[in-house]
Chain length 132, copies 2
Amino acid sequence: MSTRTAAQRRAEAGSAYDAYLAECPARQLLDRIADKWVSLAVNALADGPQRYSDLHRRLASVSQKMLTQTLRHLERDGLVSRTVTPAVPVRVDYELTALGRSLLPVMCAIKGWAEEHMDEVHAARTAYDAPS
Amino acid sequence: MSTRTAAQRRAEAGSAYDAYLAECPARQLLDRIADKWVSLAVNALADGPQRYSDLHRRLASVSQKMLTQTLRHLERDGLVSRTVTPAVPVRVDYELTALGRSLLPVMCAIKGWAEEHMDEVHAARTAYDAPS
DNA sequence: CGGTATCCGTGACGATACTG
DNA sequence: CAGTATCGTCACGGATACCG
């Protein structure tokens, strides 16, 4: 039992993981969700199930590769479900799971903060970059 | 006045920026704050002003280069203030500004979510990776 | 102490072409 | 339509050394 890490012992004690530690699994999860593509994708899925092509059109700034990769990661992590409807042509829908919806308020808040405080940040940058 | 971008006109109309568009400045800001280093740094500064060495010790998983770079970005964006106290040796303190504190609840929520839902995500991954 | 400067490998990311 | 595969690039980020 002495081989347990600090994070493991902390978890068993009822306390949470500590994302500051590189070895902590919560840290890896944080790396995963604190990601620009994830924040955009989850936000886009807020309105309900969406087809791949709809998502791709909405997130015009995301390449096909990154969108697919992000959706795969989210699916693996249990945040989105992927439903394939066999037809010609094939139809694939993505939808947030219950777990995914629990993350939605946070992702929405981040996107909202960025859009809301854009002007203040821009002003701060201008001041910072101001020549001597 | 006809040279304004769609984002600028939207802002003046009272509506927010649209972070889905690559050209939108809010998108760049989102890219900046939806970052693992930023989320860790802002969270670490939640308790009040901290010295560089304290931060570095706390965020053991962050290299000196990334920590400095992240703090510089946050300073430029007006989220963090940097105070140098001339002495031997030099002392540098970092502190969240009012703008930075407005972001704190969101960053805290992200880190909290990661630590809280770690087990569920881990279970989802195991299920996803389960061989045929 | 609190950085900066430099090197350098890895992998993120976009563009393109192809498939079921 | 919804991908997968492959390639090339370039910036992220770690390691190391040096500076005020």
